[in-house]
């Protein structure tokens, strides 16, 4: 997924929305996304009934209980324009897929719109918290309730001296909770919760 993330602006310019999809749960996706420092396109959970969407594309591997590693390009008219598998152990050529999407976009004569920039927190957004701090807990609860674990990195400055040093460098003080978006710190728990709420409202 990091390879795709790196070329996302190219897909966006080709009016193409990228979606990842596997049989993993929403919670597993959120953890993986967090471990990658955020993923700015949706990772869909084809979890229940397991692999049903993959099966409808003929891409569910029944015996293994997993989805094939395969790519489908659908034009804005809803027609499948490309479908290919690299097998589960294989690797995709993302640059080649970007070129295919550009070709589909050039050939498509129907109405189409640019893909809006990802409606989530920008990559690298970080919530700094302290242990045994009610305000930090409030911000962490909001992070969990809005399922933003895949979009915002969580760092505890009480346990992690490197994180504390980062926080001080950013805003000149070690006050936490602090939500840092695009390098700009936001300190008050209520303001942090509002920023998260607004982002979720914007998503819907």
């Amino acid at each position: 997924m990091p390879e795709t993330e790196a070329l996302l602006s190219r897909f966006g310019a080709a009016n193409t929305q990228v979606l990842g999809i596997s049989i993993d749960s929403v919670f597993c996706h959120a953890n993986w996304a967090a471990s990658l420092g955020g993923v700015s396109f949706p990772l869909l959970s084809d979890f229940h009934p397991k692999g049903a969407v993959a099966a409808s594309y003929g891409l569910y591997l029944e015996k293994a209980g997993i989805t094939d590693r395969a790519t489908v390009i659908i034009d804005a008219g809803g027609t499948v324009r490309h479908i290919s598998s690299v097998t589960p152990a294989g690797g995709r050529d993302i640059a080649e897929l970007a070129a295919l999407c550009e070709k589909v976009d050039q050939e498509y004569s129907g109405p189409k719109e640019a893909v809006p920039s990802p409606a989530t927190f920008p990559r690298g957004s970080t919530l700094y918290v302290k242990s045994s701090c009610g305000h930090s807990l409030k911000a962490m609860n909001a992070l969990a309730n809005f399922h933003l674990g895949g979009a915002i990195i969580l760092k505890n400055v009480t346990d992690d001296p490197a994180a504390k040093a980062e926080l001080v460098k950013l805003g000149g003080k070690d006050q936490a909770p602090c939500l840092v978006v695009d390098g700009k710190p936001l300190y008050e728990a209520d303001d942090i919760v509002k920023a998260m709420t607004d982002s979720v409202a914007y998503l819907k």
Binding site: T71, I74, G78, P88, G91, F146, H147
Partner: protein
Amino acid sequence: MIAEGTKAPGFTLKDHLGREISLDSLTGKHHVMLLFYPLDFTPT
């Protein structure tokens, strides 16, 4: 796998942020690239 040139099967699924996303809400506006993959924590 299904053939190129056929209509893409529709779906509505939740994403990693808990958002419900349906194919129908995207096509009509954009092209869509679906990256099917076996499991999280695996490469490209």
